[in-house]
Amino acid sequence: MWRTYLRPASMAEALDLLRRYAGQARVIAGGTDVLVELSRGVRPTETLIDITALTELKYVREESGLIRLGALATHNDGIASPACVAGALPLAQACWEVGAPQIRTRATIAGNLVTASPANDTIPPLMALGAELALVSAEGGERIVPLAEFYPAFRRTVLRPDELIREIRFPALRENQRGIFLKLGLRRAQAISVIDIALVLTFDGEVVRDARITLGCLAPTVIHARTVEAYLVGRRLDEAVCAEAGRRACDDAAPIDDLRGSAGYRRETLAALVAEGLRRVAAGTQAAGWPATPVLLETRDTSSTVALPFAGVIATTINGTAYELPGAAGKTLLNALREDAGLTGTKEGCAEGECGACTVWLNRQTVMSCLVPAAQAHSGSVTTIEGLAHAGGAADEGDLHPLQDAFVACGAVQCGFCIPGMLMAGAKLLDERPAPNDEQILTALSGNICRCTGYRKILDAVHAASAEITEGGAA
């Protein structure tokens, strides 16, 4: 899909490469959007510039009332950051609703902004929060662009070919501000929005002093519902006002028909969603349903691995064994594992991050290997299904990870094609929390499609393995 893979070690080097390639290269971090686009021939390129070695850009922090997200902050970083949950709940909620866990480990919020689809979930909350972007380039230095001015047209941004988003920042919500993000999807996980909205309201007591309401999938770009914003100022959010605001929101929207829904359906549900959001903000229940400890499927670890320079030959550790993969720099990790390392236990079911069959662990994170450039495993470590037993502490040849045993015993395996990915996600969950409840298990496995089992025996198996692990640990 690409020929040249560049992995600059510093910001200066990255900006220099961007300048030299002058629009001929694409920047990649998590890769979850870029690889899907490339496989479909969207914005094709021969050259990828991977900025993941610039680890100084991976942060979410609050400084004197300002929340700052570095370019490499992932959706999981947004979810796991107390500052973000407290000071930017709508953003945290949006991050939680994006993709599957294996996507959230890798997908960056900045990348979501650059993809520039009106369906990208983090845009409405960031816009409602009044975010601005720090864009950098070798020649222009740094400039600040409000997110509201970032999208001139459908799927277009003002980002120049030689520019990079360095930081996203916005004021944290204050005492008298409350916000919420709501999304309508066609299924309960991994769904691209039919519509989504973010609300950020500032109160004087119970009276709305300022309202920012942004709408996704309701116009060519994410927009503000200006009529409603104006309508709400000076009002109390009683039932009639919430309902009226919902109705008025339709005047601000200009939706279209697409595969996920008609324009009419979008308008009708918009009214319901806006009213619902306002009711919840009024009642102070905007955070209802937010998980106390969200499932992340990654081992949170601040010790950054020092990435060795990449010069075309991938040197990596897979299941504890060192591999050199000279022909794999232009491939996905999935293909490199299957074709170059000869490890065919990892499966391809969709090659677009939608089925989870290709799930492996890369540097402590659970990832969809079909959306990872193989070169990102350079100087890193990969665990696949073939290494799961060992990673789970199996001492002897032939011993299995407790979850593998439980899958066999519980009848959780039918055709088996989803099972390697399912096990890699499930085993990471058990690492993260040895005694998960139903909801945590289902969330952890929501990126893994099984067409055979109906998931019930898989759920049983995770519980059984959990009992084995926790009791085994206690004994």
Binding site: G264, C350, I385, F417
Partner: protein, 734 residues
């Protein structure tokens, strides 16, 4: 049947194949690809209907790494199909749907094959396409197969009694119009495989499928080789659900290997799989039902039209099944149903779990509940009064095959629904905190044949070898039965061990090679446990008898099992004996409807099935739970969108499957064991049954919750909201 010694029958033994599947060691078709193999890339038509004016492969042939570009002229006999051989392997003159194949590029690497495929230059003259089944039947419609002179593939009438009189005398007559959409199998393993010519000049294809011997028959015919010269072997199969019953790429692998005399490999991308293999048929059903005041359903009239797509596949059989079940599982004295299978320029349709039964009974079961409401009667009571009993006459005027358990299945379902869902009790407010969330309960029944129907020569063959000294030490069971994930190999092994009175470990299975194992028939129609199981059972008994009589330390027996014969349907009246066994199901579901968004969540499901005898209870539950996931998708979520012959949803990001979070939090599979007279140890099939009543049960639950009836499957949020708005007299227009 023999008296069961039940230590292995019913036991939830773990599956031997699971070990390889949890360690990554199991080899699926794509895992067989080795360095040095040639790679194949197809050139698809990507247009619904066109004449091929010119086909220039020279640029592709000259591209780096290309070994050959095969086209129609390279195919010895260019037609295949399960029933009618009407589908070209590679199209030479006309393409009839967007997934039709026009050229096969063979190159040293996958990337080279893909690149060269883009260089194949095809000049088309687009022809008018017909993409609606009713329009295809209209006079002057474009013809999908011009040489046939019609788009009508089948018309089958079923006539019983006198519907005109019955409607005239009925106290209540209701009309209904229903439509169902395509469904994609979405087995998780996309089609893949390898092929080569072995040292004995046999072409060997290693892939996935549902019926070794049928694949072999069609491939041998295409290559014009004796069947013995074609070996089909199945690797681990990543799901099938009917979707691997037709040839997809098996024959093309064989063609390339045979022509080039080198090992070849092909692996489809998901989007290739989506556009190229057949789907579940969309149906358009219009019907009229009549009943007496006392709750006797007296008349059913229906028109049942299936969009068969561009090629015949099994459309004729699917349509017959749907026609037979248009009146559900009820004994109705007066029936007049016309079933039509129609060619269009849409994706071909064929087998998919349920095989016409879910579509027909979506309409039938909704009509029964509506009739009950119109009569002021409990929907369960109306069912009870009309449901099939032992000796009931089918629409085809013959008594049902023995072992009719529709009523006990329904009664058990009602019992469970009362206990678990408080079915029948007045409900308090649904979700007090959220008035827009409304809950409701629905019940529906279902019937589906087990095994092949309508006079097909149904058989299954197994061979058993026994070895030992003083004692019987081990057995080898040979049966060419596909384990598509459902666990057939363990079931057959349990039956063999039980019948022989030895341990499971003493039985080994030879199942995956068409040259070694005899023909079990397909892994479809919920038939393998009954048919394959009975063949293994009978062969084991025969071998055991020989063993006892023999001096040698070896015995062998091969048995071909035939179930009671069925007959074709009479072309004028549909009269006949369509099937030798049925499975019966009933379900109760509870849903929660969001009246602001139209979203429907299934909260609880009770799924009751008569399986005759569970050979392995864990596997039976697995079939019920897994089938329910597909039923959830079918009823609510899976929206295969096609416009003007183009599939708009070829990706998993656009064709949404249920995730773990979309499943009902509570699923109660209930298994009854009312022995079937023919099945091994009384077993009958179950794999398809949960899909049959589910969608109408959900529709009834939505109605119970909100008062609206949905008549289009899938019942997407948008459709639900539109129905609610229509009821409230609001406009849905934006």
């Amino acid at each position: 049947m023999s008296t069961p010694k039940t230590h292995l029958i019913g036991a939830s033994l773990p599956r031997p194949d699971a070990l390889g599947k949890v360690t990554g060691a199991a080899r699926y078709p794509a895992d067989l690809i080795r360095p040095g193999m040639l790679h194949l890339q197809l050139v698809f038509a990507q247009r619904p209907h066109a004449r091929i004016v010119a086909l220039d492969t020279s640029a592709a042939e000259g591209a780096p790494g290309v070994a050959a570009v095969l086209t129609a002229k390279d195919v010895p006999y260019n037609a295949h199909g399960l029933i009618d051989a009407d589908q070209p392997a590679l199209c030479g003159d006309v393409v009839r749907f967007e997934g039709d194949k026009v050229a096969l590029v063979v190159a040293e690497s996958k990337e080279q094959a893909e690149a060269a495929a883009k260089l194949v230059a095809v000049t088309y003259e687009d022809l008018p396409a017909v993409t609606d089944a009713r329009a295809a039947l209209a006079a002057g419609a474009p013809l999908v197969h011009a040489e046939l002179g019609t788009n009508l593939l089948l018309h089958i009438p079923i006539r019983k009694g006198d519907t005109a009189r019955a409607f005239a005398e009925a106290a209540v007559v209701l009309e209904g119009a229903f439509s169902t959409s395509w469904q994609e199998h979405a087995f998780l393993q996309p089609e893949a495989g390898i092929a080569y010519v072995d040292e004995q000049e046999r072409v060997v294809i290693e892939t996935a499928g549902q019926w070794l011997h049928e694949d072999r028959r069609q491939i041998a015919a295409m290559l014009q080789l004796p069947e013995e010269q074609v070996i089909v072997r199945y690797a681990a199969i990543g799901g099938a659900f009917g979707g691997r019953e037709d040839l997809s790429m098996q024959h093309l692998l064989a063609l390339a290997a045979w022509k080039l005399r080198r090992p070849v490999a092909m692996q489809w991308k998901r989007e290739e799989s989506m556009i190229a293999h057949h789907k579940r048929h969309p149906f358009d059903i219009r019907c009229r039902w009549g009943a007496t005041r006392e709750g006797r359903i007296t008349a059913v009239e229906a028109e049942v039209i299936a969009d068969g797509g561009a090629y015949a596949s099994t459309s004729v059989e699917v349509t017959k099944v749907a026609t037979l079940f248009a009146s559900g599982c009820y004994e109705i004295p007066n029936i007049s149903v016309d079933g039509y299978a129609v060619y269009t320029n849409n994706v071909p349709c064929g087998a998919f779990r349920g095989f016409g039964a879910p579509q027909a009974q979506f309409a039938a079961e909704i009509m029964v509940t509506r009739l009950a409401h119109a009569l002021g009667m409990d929907p369960v009571e109306l069912r009870r009064r009309n449901i099939y009993r032992e000796g009931s006459l089918e629409p085809t005027q013959q008594p049902l095959p023995e072992g009719v358990s529709a009523l006990p299945v329904l009664e058990r379902c009602v019992e469970e629904a009362r206990a678990r869902l408080r079915y029948g009790e007045p409900r308090e407010s649904d979700v007090p905190s959220a008035p827009h969330l409304r809950r409701g309960i629905g019940i529906a029944c279902g019937i589906k044949n087990v095994g092949y129907s309508f006079g097909y020569q149904e058989q299954s063959t197994a061979k058993v070898h026994l070895y030992g000294k003083a004692e019987l030490e081990r057995a080898v069971v040979l049966i060419g039965a596909a384990d598509v994930g459902q666990g057939a190999h363990l079931i057959l092994r349990q039956i063999a061990a039980e019948t022989l009175g030895i341990a499971l470990e003493q039985v080994s299975m030879v199942t995956d090679d068409s040259g070694e194992a005899p023909n079990a028939g397909s892994a479809s129609a919920s038939r393998m446990t009954l048919m394959g199981g009975r063949a293994v059972h009978d062969a084991a008994l025969a071998a055991r008898a020989k063993w006892s009589a023999a001096e040698e330390y070896e015995a062998e027996a091969e048995v071909q099992f035939h179930p009671p014969a069925t007959t074709p349907l009479d072309p004028m009246s549909g009269a006949g004996r369509p099937n030798y066994c049925y499975g019966y199901a009933a379900q109760a579901v509870e849903v929660e409807v969001n009246t602001l968004t139209g979203q429907v969540r299934v909260l609880r499901v009770i799924s009751v099935h008569d399986v005759g005898r569970a050979i392995n209870m864990q596997q039976v539950e697995g079939q019920i739970e897994g089938c329910l996931a597909q039923a959830v998708g079918y009823a609510l979520l899976e929206d295969f969108q096609v416009r003007d012959g183009h599939v708009l949803t070829p990706y998993f990001s656009t064709y949404l499957l249920p995730t773990a979070l979309d499943m009902p939090p509570e699923i109660v599979p209930v298994v009854l064991e009312l022995a079937d007279p023919n099945g091994p140890y009384g077993a009958r099939g179950v794999a398809e049954m949960p899909l049959v009543p589910f969608a109408p049960a959900v529709a009834a639950a939505i109605h119970d919750a909100t008062g609206v009836w949905l008549s289009q499957q899938p019942m997407t949020p948008e459709r639900v909201l539109a129905a609610l708005s229509a009821m409230n007299g609001q406009s849905t227009a934006g």
